[in-house]
């Protein structure tokens, strides 16, 4: 069980670099009546159309505790938290904050009652400054003449980022921020007010290890002040590090709530998935063939510099690094989305240069983007139309489409990838995240590629779907495809790749064979000795 191993191996945990929650909080959570819960939810039910998203869920959050909420995608975690934060109205059930029954009409009501939330979506107001982003929807300081007091806002914003230990230009429009900094601004925003409870929905998905540590220190400060924290995450190692109690949701139902000491990760995965997971990662020996893809001195200003990289047929090359290291940009450049400024690309020894994705696809290169909803899928389209979108020129006759042929093609891939949940003529938006991800891979496989560039293929995917995707990657390697696996999950790269290449600030900083690669070495190469955090990317 890799997750468990990983937890044990994690350097941070062992030397106590991750602060664990305060002993006081642990006492409270395990003792009987430490006072009213900050949040108490009873019998909450929410339906969307005919689908019941959560069904009679109970949940509570005590002051000063970290309560982790786990479950597969679609289990109802986000729905539950959005109700608590006033974004959705429940169909049934009660919500209490500090012992009083409340009805929130909007997020503003929730914030007024002391419930803050860090949303999963990295949504900021692109044209507003960082400082102003913290204040949208809140009471803003006024100057003597009644206008907004910008100086006070900036000062307060700077102070806020200082407590987070992060240096950021608060006057910069948010559209210039890197992904990691967006996440940090959202965290800062949630912590701005005088919150009694803070909901964190996947807060670390774009953060570097060091920033995660800072966040955990902040959480510790919060709990010491008696603030309750709901921690929603897919990363079980984090959950075990930071949480006092864990609640598991599955299919909209509340399965179990228990102190962290009473659960281990194997048990937790079993509760989440509903069955024991024999093995998450699948690896069979791969037969490496000739060089399929070779990059020589590839550069694009301010994104990546002087990249040399080779991938053989049948080889899975893991590309590790922090978010913003230039990995996505590199893959997109190979795929013809971003123009290469200098350097050469060879496919099967032949020099190529792509100016559009079509050209890349024609040479057997496909890219599976990390942003499933905005870059990968046409959500209102039926499943079949998504899967055939890239190969319409092949299955259309003289430009004319044939529904039966499309359906047959789709069925072939849908079956092979065990895409479940809906008929292929249903809109793909009805599929769960994991199945959408599989459909996206099916779409790329329909192009019959020889080289696959997979960008975070398991992001936001539940454990069950992850396992299937790993099996698929392994199978593709065995079939002789050349695969570039971009991933920010270290264990994924270490377990799946034949070779690990590490990028930092646009350059390749290290390359390890499968047996040389360890978490420590990869991390060190990815973060560098003097890691810079928080600098705005312009």
């Amino acid at each position: 069980m890799i997750i468990e191993e990983h937890r044990g191996e994690h350097p941070g945990v062992q030397d106590g670099a991750y602060p664990s929650a305060s002993p006081a909080a642990r006492d409270k959570s395990s003792s009987d009546t430490p006072g009213d819960p900050v949040i108490r939810v009873m019998g909450l039910t929410k339906r969307f159309g005919g689908v019941t998203a959560i069904d009679g869920v109970d949940f509570d959050l005590l002051p000063g505790e970290v309560h982790a909420l786990v479950g597969e995608n679609g289990a109802g975690k986000s729905t539950l938290m959005k109700i608590v934060h006033g974004l959705y109205a429940p169909d049934e059930g009660q919500l209490e904050v500090e012992g009083r029954q409340v009805t929130f009409v909007s997020s503003r009501d929730a914030e007024a009652a002391g419930v803050a939330m860090i949303p999963q979506e990295l949504d900021l107001f692109p044209e507003l400054s960082v400082a102003e982003n913290l204040y949208v929807g809140r009471h803003r300081p006024r100057s003597w003449w009644g206008g907004l007091d910008w100086t006070a806002m900036r000062t307060e914003a700077r102070r806020q980022f200082e407590t987070l230990g992060i240096d950021i230009d608060v006057t910069l429009p948010a559209r210039f921020l890197s992904t990691a900094n967006r996440q940090i601004v959202l965290i800062a925003r949630a912590l701005m007010g005088d919150a009694r409870a803070v909901i964190m929905d996947e807060p670390t998905s774009s953060l570097t290890e060091r920033e995660v540590q800072r966040l955990f220190e902040v959480i510790k400060d919060l709990t010491e002040r008696g603030v309750g924290v709901v921690y929603v995450s897919h990363r079980l190692d984090e959950v075990f590090t930071i949480a006092d109690r864990i609640s598991v949701l599955r299919d909209g139902l509340h399965i179990k709530t228990a102190p962290v000491s009473e659960l281990d990760s194997e048990e937790l995965v079993r509760l989440m998935v509903g069955r024991a997971l024999s093995e998450l990662f699948v690896r069979n020996p791969h037969q490496h063939g000739s060089i399929a893809l070779e990059l020589k001195g590839l550069s694009r200003s301010s994104e990546f510099t002087d990249i040399d990289l080779t991938i053989h047929r049948g080889e899975v090359v893991g590309l590790a690094g922090l978010i913003g290291a230039g990995r996505t940009e590199l893959a997109q450049a190979v795929f013809g989305i971003r123009p290469v400024e200098s350097g050469e690309i060879y496919i099967d020894g032949e020099r190529v240069s792509f100016h559009s994705p079509q050209e890349a696809m024609n040479r057997g290169v496909v890219y599976v983007p990390e942003e499933r909803q905005s870059q990968g899928l046409i959500l209102p389209f039926p499943i079949y139309a998504n899967i055939t979108l890239s190969i319409l020129q092949k299955i259309a006759r003289a430009g004319f489409l044939n529904y039966d042929r499309e359906r047959k093609t789709t069925d072939r891939f849908a079956d092979a990838l065990s895409i479940r949940g809906a008929d292929v003529s249903e809109p793909i938006s009805r599929l769960s995240g994991g199945n959408q991800q599989k459909a996206m891979i099916a779409k790329s496989l329909a192009c019959e590629p020889s080289i696959l560039l997979l960008d975070e293929p398991t992001r936001g995917v539940d454990v069950g779907a992850k396992s299937e995707i790993y099996r698929l990657i392994d199978q593709l390697g065995q079939d002789g495809k050349a695969i570039l696996l971009i991933s920010s999950e270290l264990e994924e790269v270490l377990s799946m790749a034949d070779r690990v290449v590490v990028m930092r600030e646009g350059r390749i900083t290290a390359e390890f064979d499968r047996d040389e690669a360890t978490q420590e070495r990869v991390m060190a190469a990815a973060a560098g000795v003097e890691e810079k955090a928080g600098a705005a990317e312009l």
Binding site: A89, P90, T103, F104, V105, S106
Partner: protein, 344 residues
């Protein structure tokens, strides 16, 4: 929660309420009864008459005269036109007049040739055809009711201007759109008159006011700024003249820059009173509408003379310019003395 639930009925209510508001607003005004047909006694003959556009005082005045004549003659009158002066819309309405079973159709054309095919179709359907105010191609109508000849208007304008500027100087002409055929024809006559009789008078520039009062003011202002030695301004549409006069008044050039043109008396009374305009030209649109209906009725009854004069009710005898052209009379020149005698 309450808001989200509440919003559905609110949305339902929003549209009908707005609709009702708008209609209520119209109802209250008490103007505009929809069908514009004056029911005559016999109701046998039906005359369909189309202005260039509806909703402007000039054609409202013609409508008044037309309705007067219809009542006198005991015929059905449909008086309707497009809300914008577009030939294409007129074509469409002519076709619909044909469908409606009119015995005579008479139009004020936005474009002489564009309306021709539709008018020929009316002829083919055995409908009497005519034009008034602005002619269509001669082979596409049986008769034209001419308010005043292009020559008479063009000459009168130039003569009035010459009186005020001593027969010399550079002039600005503010027109409607650059494609307006009547205006272009008057302009041609004006230039001819200048060349023949006043060799020191020249049209220096032609600016479109696009039948927009403000635009007319702006182009005149701009032009007079750039060319301060301009002797006078012609405003040759009913909108261009008050616009030109307003610009001259605002620039404080009244008395220095002469203004004249073609327009309706009500819209220019204030400039006559203020002395910005001394004289301007038009015909009586009420009489024009009145005459057009009389002519159409005579066509239906087969009583159109080929030459000589035509007997038109209270107007008495009017002149036949040609076998297919009736002339209302000489243009009316409006001055401080007579302007209060007219109300249109």
């Amino acid at each position: 929660m309450s808001m989200k639930r509440g919003s559905v009925p609110l949305r339902w209510i929003a549209v009908p309420v707005v609709g009702l508001m708008l209609f209520a607003a119209c109802g209250e005004s008490g103007v505009g009864q929809a069908p514009e047909s004056a029911q005559g006694g016999g109701g046998e003959s039906r005359i369909c008459m189309m202005p260039k556009l509806v909703g402007i005082p000039y054609f409202n005045a013609s409508q008044k005269g037309a309705e007067e004549a219809a009542e006198e003659l005991g015929v059905d009158l449909t008086y309707d036109g497009p809300t914008e002066a577009k030939a294409a819309l007129q074509v469409q309405m002519i076709e619909q007049f044909i469908q409606q079973g009119c015995q005579a159709i008479t139009v004020a054309a936005n474009d002489p040739n564009a309306l021709a095919p539709a008018m020929k179709k009316a002829m083919d359907a055995d409908i009497r055809t005519g034009a008034w105010d602005a002619d269509v191609a001669p082979d596409a109508r049986e008769v034209f009711v001419n308010q005043a000849t292009f020559q008479a208007i063009g000459y009168a304008l130039v003569d009035i201007m010459a009186e005020q500027t001593g027969g010399k100087g550079e002039f600005l002409v503010v027109t409607g759109s650059l494609t307006a055929p009547n205006q272009n024809a008057w302009l041609k006559e004006m230039k001819e008159r200048m060349a023949d009789k006043y060799p020191d008078m020249h049209v220096a520039s032609l600016e479109p006011g696009e039948e927009d009062l403000q635009l007319g003011i702006d182009v005149t202002t701009d032009y007079l700024r750039a060319n301060p030695d301009t002797a006078g301004v012609f405003g040759i549409t009913s909108v261009a003249l008050p616009g030109a006069a307003e610009a001259v008044e605002q620039l404080g050039l009244d008395g220095k820059v002469a203004v004249t043109g073609l327009s309706t008396p009500n819209d220019n009374k204030q400039y006559i009173d203020a002395g910005v305009i001394e004289k301007f030209v038009l015909w009586n649109p009420i009489d024009l509408g009145y005459l057009a209906v009389h002519v159409a009725n005579a066509q239906i009854e087969g009583k159109m003379p080929e030459s000589g004069t035509f007997e038109a009710g209270r107007l008495g005898k009017v002149k036949m310019l040609a076998p297919d052209e009736v002339l209302l009379g000489p243009p009316v020149i409006f001055t401080e003395q007579n302007i209060n005698d007219y109300n249109f």
